[in-house]
């Protein structure tokens, strides 16, 4: 595996990945006296699968929230696709092409699966309220177009049978899949997944892993994911960031990180040789 200049990177399975999509520079985030993130810097390359790992409380979700624009760091800057990102409101960040799933499911419990996934298309649906009042014509056409796009994703994630079911009635594993569908519906450049495997059994994890890999290879979507399951991380990701107590303690390919002593001490336990 070679590491070229200017962020050109060939993965272990031979894919050629492009330049830097997002760069976090010296990010520090504080909540009153608590330092959630301390001087963190790393980048995410276009088209790669980047894992963020670390023990509980390391600040991984906070990192994702900074990327989403939900938390504004006190120090440091976020550079997205080459230009520094000024303080953006979360919905503006979404319009930049960043979509995410949440650690505790954040689906809209009052709506059906189909409606939930359709909300993922909101950044693409532009007709104004007056056209929608009339419905026939522009609004209806846009609705049909987006419905078609959404149905493709529903097919991809195999949730056709439950599309009209109210989301509140679904079991946990299916809810996670619907959340992924909603994130994918936005056709994002960068997909943030917050513990997508949490609470799943082996089969469900295999399904989810397959979906994530397919999203990355078929749609070319860059993925950053937080995950605890080491097997998943080692298999799925191209590069890994390791965090502990708000600081970065490791950054590199899964193999490099696995052999990093500090990471082992903090997290993986002592290896037996």
């Amino acid at each position: 595996m070679s590491n070229g200049s200017e962020g050109n990177f060939v993965t272990t399975d031979g894919r050629n990945i492009g330049g830097v999509m997002m760069e976090m520079k010296n990010i520090t985030l504080r909540f009153g006296g608590v330092v959630a993130l301390e001087n963190i810097s790393f980048n995410i390359l276009e088209g790669e699968v980047r894992a963020i790992i670390g023990p509980n409380g390391a600040g991984k979700s906070s990192m994702l929230n900074v990327i989403s624009g939900f938390y504004i760091p006190q120090e440091g800057e976020v550079i997205f696709q080459g230009s520094p990102r000024p303080s953006l409101k979360p919905f503006e960040v979404a319009h930049q092409g960043i979509a995410r799933t949440f650690q505790n499911i954040a689906l809209f419990e009052g709506m059906s699966v189909l409606d939930n996934v359709m909300t993922g298309r909101l950044t693409k649906m532009k007709t104004g309220i007056f056209s929608q009042m009339i419905w026939a014509g522009k609004a209806e056409r846009e609705e049909i177009e987006n419905r078609e796009a959404v149905e493709k994703i529903i097919d991809f994630l195999e949730i056709q049978a439950i599309r009209k079911t109210p989301v509140s009635r679904l079991p946990y594993g299916l809810k996670k899949r619907v959340e992924l569908a909603r994130a994918l519906a936005a056709e994002p450049n960068l997909l943030l997944l917050d513990e997508p495997m949490a609470g799943m059994n082996v089969e469900e994890k295999q399904d989810m892993s397959r979906f994530i890999l397919d999203v990355n290879s078929e749609f070319g979507t860059t993925i950053a994911l937080i995950e605890h399951d080491m097997g998943v991380v080692m298999d799925l990701s191209d590069r890994v960031v390791v965090m502990d107590y708000g600081r970065k303690i490791g950054d590199g390919t899964p193999d490099e990180v696995r052999n990093n002593q500090e990471v082992i001490d903090a997290y993986l336990g002592v290896s037996h040789d």
């Binding site: 979700s61 929230n65 939900f70 949440f102 954040a106």
Partner: protein, 328 residues
């Protein structure tokens, strides 16, 4: 001293007294909200109902006489006896405890875990229901309430201020009495909450229902306790307001006045309810005194709300409420 300043001072003092009465009603809200997360819109009607029951018992009224007469064609209204005030108060307290038990058993036990807005709307329904029951039981005409609270202008203050400023302040004895009662009540409630076992249990329940359950606190016992205390506070508030202006429907509208008090003070803070009440009481009266004449008067109808609204825009949790931190 110039007359205007004296007038303003008198207005402020009266405002403080009115504020104390608002705080009394607001206290009932805070208690229930702290313990169960329910914003009890029916607190005002509880005050009305308590006052109605007190008067009814004291005057020896036959409960539901109107209904009985309509069904059976009879014409009974009174038993013919009069109950002494103290005994009537004790009996009314018992009625309020029964009410607390009924409300807990039949309503809120079934609404555990619902969203706050559903709980709030349930209390609106309860308010209407209780108002209907109160009217049906005791009749909806205005009643006079006299439990022996001193009324009328306080001579001592009048003469002192007359001597000092050349203008005698008109402060009603009733308001002074109410202030003392409120102070004592607050002191008792704060001590109860901080120093007794039940008070601690109450605070535990307010923080986290599940956790409280897991350490063996009986939610239903606590809620009955809380609603009973709120009922007692309602009785005190209802008695004082009722002695002031008669027991009538408008008493229940006081609940509406308590809302801006709570918005200012934060929904979960007892000192907040007091200070919020005082601010609103003084603010209302001063605004009406200074600005009212220019814009037609009767600004007390809305001033409290607008003040609270403006306050909330800048500080959404009120003066003493807990800061709301949202997490994803």
């Amino acid at each position: 001293m110039p007359d205007q300043v004296l007038f303003a001072a008198e207005v402020m003092l009266n405002g403080l007294m009115a504020g104390v009465l608002y705080s009394l009603v607001a206290l009932g809200f805070v208690l229930i909200f702290k313990a169960s997360g329910i914003f009890n819109y029916a607190q005002g009607v509880m005050a009305l109902f308590a006052a109605l029951t007190l008067v009814g018992i004291m005057d020896g009224q036959v409960p539901f006489s109107h209904l009985i007469n309509a069904i059976f064609g009879t014409n009974i209204h009174h038993f013919g006896w009069h109950t002494p005030a103290l005994l009537a108060i004790i009996l009314t307290i018992m009625v309020m405890v029964l009410f607390a038990w009924l409300v807990q058993r039949f309503i809120f036990r079934h609404l555990v875990n619902q969203e706050p807005i559903i709980l709030f709307m349930a209390t609106i329904g309860l308010a209407y229901f209780l108002e209907g029951v109160g009217d049906l039981m005791w009749g909806s005409d205005i009643k006079k309430l006299d439990v022996g609270i001193p009324k009328g202008m306080n001579e001592t203050i009048e003469s002192i201020t007359h001597g000092a400023f050349g203008y005698g302040f008109f402060i009603d004895n009733l308001d002074i009495f109410a202030t003392f009662v409120a102070i004592i009540l607050v002191a008792i409630l704060v001590c109860f909450s901080q120093y007794t076992k039940q008070g601690r249990a109450l605070r535990a329940v307010a923080d986290d229902h599940q956790a409280a359950l897991s350490v063996g606190i009986s939610l239903s016992y606590i809620w009955i306790l809380v609603w009973s205390i709120a009922g007692f506070v309602a009785l005190v508030a209802g008695t004082i307001w009722g002695a002031k202006s008669g027991v009538q429907f408008s008493l229940s509208l006081i609940a509406l006045k308590a809302l801006p008090v709570l918005m200012l003070g934060g929904f979960t803070s007892i000192p907040g309810a007091i200070i919020g009440g005082l601010i609103i009481g003084v603010g209302e009266k001063l605004f009406e005194f200074l600005v009212g004449p220019w814009i037609g008067g009767a600004t007390e109808n809305w001033f409290a709300y607008v003040l609270a609204l403006l306050f909330l825009v800048f500080r959404p949790q009120g003066l003493f409420g807990e800061k709301i931190i949202e997490r994803v």
